[in-house]
Symmetry: C2
Subunit: 239 residues, 2 copies
DNA sequence: CCGGGCAGGTGGTCATTACCGGTTATTATA
DNA sequence: TATAATAACCGGTAATGACCACCTGCCCGG
């Protein structure tokens, strides 16, 4: 079960093991977990170790405890902690809709001053420029302009950007670790071009989001400007 | 220092004591705390107790630790942990502007079904309803409708809601601990009434934010619906 | 004078033991 | 049979002792 010789602490191993069982559904909500003393016997660790693992799961909201009774699997939160680093694709899918894209343009351009500053690159460096119309259930929901430093994702344009999530490609194919994002949001009137792409009447309000995403190295992996339909998109955050 | 006969656990007493020193400024940011073993001696408790207290403070973001070196006071949240529980007033002031309010209406009303659900109260219970125009540097920036359970803040309407921050009153006068908030954001066209209050042309886009704020007890302390001018307000989040 | 090694301090991990107060099911009593 | 006492079990708290990896400053040898 647990590897006592592993450099990974026992309580971390146990915590991850239990978390996986909960998230995978092996342990259903409201199921009672084995008691702390029983977990000690099952995994051959001390109660301190078990309590440390359970404490972290409790902090994550995956379990809850009742004194004198036991520890139980929590009901999944309706809007489970809106993944801070979710892409449009993952966002839409979580809402139970199908996400797709129409690539309007995909090119490699040199960075101008503004772009170089945003992506923390030298001026003139190669930048992947992605212009996409994002659809949910086949209906246009957002226009997205994305810039990425080319040297961090060489050959990106070869992938199927119409159906795959950009974040998924960056994570799986390039093994990049996206850890942080900054977002600014404002409302504006849709421009004629935006109205046409999003099939909006005149006048119409749009939600404009500008997001910078960072790697674990603090390098900027992406800057994205998204224009959402105001009438059908809601941003949700838990803080 | 610590009361061993108190029903309050030792690690809670120690945690609260240290937290107060940090928040009051007695312990400045980046100050090194006494080592865990030294705290044991100072307060006559075991290292497990000390570690439990420090662990919770670390979770709260008040301290940070470096292996082999020590434990330090973190820089104050205002900048670090974005503005998870900031009010309009605090938000505007952080931008270097002066915040004020014009109270359009302040009454106590019974909760209808929708409101009772949002505030987690029984239908018909007393609710404080606050309708304010929020100004930054004297210019209208937002219209805010706020509902609060009356039993959690009896006599709230007696305070100076035009100039004081609501959150500040809740925290200082009622000793409530606001720990969590959920926000949803969307864009829309301003209604005629909104245009008039915010002095907007026709047509105009507004940013609508609906925020639910929770106490440490998980009770809902506030539900707020804010309508911001789209042209001069930007929401910023770091995740 | 400089650099490497070592000792001591720090947080991180873990086992063992003990007691407390709350919950629950069983058992003994009226 | 109904009720009260009890024992078993639960998580919460706490002390003690031990070892590890890491960091830092001191000291000694080159």
């Amino acid at each position: 079960m647990l590897d006592k010789d592993s450099p990974v602490p026992l309580h971390v191993q146990l915590r991850d093991l239990l978390r996986e069982q909960i998230l995978s559904g092996t342990l259903a909500p409201h199921t009672q977990l084995p008691s702390e003393r029983e977990l000690c016997l099952q995994y051959g660790v001390s109660r301190i170790t078990v309590r440390q693992a359970l404490g972290e799961l409790s902090h994550e909201g995956l379990i809850y405890t009742t004194v004198g009774k036991g520890t139980y699997v929590a009901v999944p939160k309706v809007q489970e902690e809106l993944q801070p680093l979710s892409s449009f694709t993952e966002d839409v899918r979580r809402r139970g809709m199908t996400a797709s894209s129409r690539v309007l343009q995909a090119t490699i351009v040199p960075a101008d001053d503004h772009l170089a500053d945003l992506l923390r690159m030298p001026r003139g460096a190669e930048v992947v420029r992605l212009h996409r119309l994002r659809l949910a259930n086949g209906l246009p929901l957002a226009i997205q302009l994305t810039w990425l430093p080319h040297h961090l994702c060489p050959g990106l344009l070869a992938y199927d950007l119409a159906s795959r999530s950009l974040f998924d490609i960056l994570r799986r194919e390039y093994h990049l670790r996206l850890v942080r994002a900054e977002t600014s949001i404002e409302a504006a009137l849709a421009t004629p071009e935006e109205r046409e792409l999003l099939q909006l009447p005149t006048p119409a309000a749009v939600l404009i989001s500008e997001q910078t995403t960072y790697l674990d190295t603090d390098a900027v992996i992406e800057f994205a400007r998204s224009v959402f339909r105001g009438d059908s998109y809601r941003l949700h955050a838990r803080m």
